[in-house]
């Protein structure tokens, strides 16, 4: 399965990581999920990073923001299909903390490496299973030219 995203939204989430550098950015991917599990991003919602104690290497999205985003997505006939965050001066691979604190099974976790303020690589990882069996798998990220 792949995560598809229009180029403008892809640029938008990468740019967010440049703006917040050297801190981690974060946000929500809203879109559609088809019967086969393929996900299409329709909207990127930028969120604040509430980890003001350690924003360069941790992120947390306020559940109050999540509640609003989820409600508005459902009312629009969409779903929360994933999340994104940046890794300042660190590879675009999931960390042990990313896995430990991931709980949206079936959703995509998109990570952008930002080196010296410039977005470099962006990868998507699909969260599978729960609890002890929880794991990330590499996921194809298809950027669509509009």
């Amino acid at each position: 399965m792949a995560l598809t995203i229009p180029l403008t939204l892809y640029d938008q989430l990468r740019h967010h990581g440049e703006v917040t550098y050297p801190h981690e950015c974060c946000g929500v991917l809203v879109g559609e999920i088809d019967e086969a599990g393929g996900k299409a991003v329709k909207t990127v919602v930028q969120c604040g990073n509430t980890r003001t104690d350690s924003p360069a290497n941790r992120y947390h999205i306020s559940p109050t923001e999540l509640v609003r985003i989820q409600r508005e997505a459902l009312l629009a006939g969409h779903d929360v299909v994933g999340f994104y965050h940046s890794h300042p001066d660190h590879p675009a691979r999931w960390s042990a903390t990313d896995l430990a604190e991931a709980h949206w099974t079936g959703c995509s976790y998109v990570i952008t490496s930002v080196e010296k303020g410039q977005a470099v690589f962006t990868n998507s990882f699909l969260l599978l299973d729960h609890d002890e069996a929880k794991r990330f798998e590499d996921e194809a990220l298809e950027v669509i030219e509009e």
Binding site: E24, I33, S54, R58, V80, S95, T97, D98, E101
Partner: protein, 94 residues
């Protein structure tokens, strides 16, 4: 009375693939109990073995975290919506 619970994407497979479920309740606890009675597979994803909400599960009544209201005893009314949202966090530091 009947109120709505919004189900997050990861819990849909255990909730009959529904995003919104109607329950009958007077309090948040009763609403979650009715939800789990309708969809028993949800129980282990919402509650730990001691019956408490799992640490990463946030429950909101409209726009308020129930932990800052009266928790499970918070009364609900017909126009209310309960949202369930697992936490979203991470980062490069262990």
């Amino acid at each position: 009375m009947s109120i709505k619970i919004l189900i997050p994407t990861p819990l849909r497979p255990y909730a009959g693939k529904q995003s919104i479920i109607e329950v009958t309740a007077q309090t948040v606890d009763q609403a979650l109990s009715d939800l789990v009675a309708q969809h028993p597979d949800l129980r282990k994803h919402l509650f730990s073995e001691d019956g408490k909400l799992r640490s990463f599960v946030n429950v909101y009544l409209n726009d308020e975290d129930i932990r800052y209201l009266s928790k499970g005893a918070t009364p609900v009314k017909e126009t209310d919506t309960i949202s369930i949202v697992p936490s979203v966090a991470g980062g490069v530091r262990p």
